[in-house]
């Protein structure tokens, strides 16, 4: 089964890098959707479904914690694994994400191998 993935980050550069890592990863990749913040992600998820979300935390309009909370509150999205990819290293923010149901956490700066390792752990 092809894996549809959404990348949520306000930096187009990071979205591009993560997209490239996904293409290089040894996974059956399907569609890759991109969103610049949590609000745009939720809007896109109203008309598309994904199997995995990679999300930043610190974003304008709706941050990654708010997005995670909204995803876990909806029947259709509460089972979708969410990996946080962020510079946010404070233990309180990371714990907040974990308590809300984040499936993993990768700190920026990251290597392609770190992302691939998280993906293989989920698949």
């Amino acid at each position: 089964m092809a894996l549809d993935v959404m990348i949520v980050d306000d930096s187009a550069a990071i979205r591009k890098i993560l997209h490239r890592v996904l293409l290089q990863a040894d996974i059956p990749l399907g569609a890759v959707l991109e969103a610049g913040d949590g609000k745009e992600a939720l809007e896109k998820l109203q008309s598309s479904s994904v199997n995995l979300i990679l999300s930043d935390i610190n974003m304008p309009n709706m941050d990654g914690i708010e997005l995670l909370s909204a995803l876990k509150a909806q029947e259709l999205t509460k089972g979708v694994p969410v990996i946080m990819v962020t510079t946010e290293g404070s233990s309180s923010r990371v714990m907040e994400a974990v308590n809300l149901g984040a499936s993993g956490y990768v700190r920026k700066p990251f290597t392609a191998e770190q992302i691939k390792e998280k993906l293989s752990g989920l698949i």
Binding site: A12, A13, R20, T87, E88, G89, S90, K108, P109, T111
Partner: protein
């Protein structure tokens, strides 16, 4: 916390980001403190705000040539001129560098918030901060040029510090003179 300890954190965070994400090995140059807000008279300057019990601003600055080189290394493609992708890349590098400095500072200064980066590109501009504290300037040799990371931090006088932070950033942005 001593100035030397903060410089050590800034060096470690910058080397980590450049080494991991860009494949660039930086050369340490002598760090110093200055009263005025930092910034080149031309090139690219990215600012982020820090807020909490301690508040302030952090910046990353470099020449247009270095900005193209850094973006090229990050995104694995050449850039002939400064465009939105280059500015976005410099904003993200700044976010990662200062975000990691923030994480180190939090161990001793308590939780802080980090603002979304603002990136400025141009010639003949200057920046000004209303903050009274000194700026710590940490320069690095990078591909034959100098790039700099700057940090200005002081105990916050206002609960939360965000109002003051917003004022500082606004003052810095509004003082750009073409």
């Amino acid at each position: 916390m001593t100035q030397e300890r903060i410089i050590e954190m800034m060096r470690a965070a910058t080397r980590d980001v450049f080494g991991t994400m860009l494949g660039i090995e930086l050369t340490d140059l002598e760090a110093f403190a200055q009263e005025r807000a930092p910034g080149p008279s031309e090139g690219v300057l990215a600012l982020v705000g820090l807020a909490g019990q301690w508040a302030g601003s952090g910046t990353f600055s470099c020449s247009a040539n270095s900005a193209r080189h850094i973006a090229g290394q990050l995104l694995m493609q050449p850039y002939e001129s400064i465009d939105d992708e280059v500015l976005d890349a410099i904003g993200e590098v700044t976010n990662m560098v200062l975000g990691n400095v923030k994480t180190s500072l939090e161990e001793e200064l308590g939780p802080m918030g980090l603002s979304i980066p603002t990136v400025i590109y141009g010639r003949n501009f200057t920046t000004r901060s209303v903050a009274k504290s000194q700026w710590i300037v940490v320069p690095f040799g990078c591909n034959g040029e100098t790039v700099e990371v700057h940090l200005c931090l002081a105990p916050s006088k206002e609960a939360g510090g965000l109002t003051r932070l917003a004022k500082d950033q606004l003052a810095a942005v509004l003082s750009i003179l073409d």
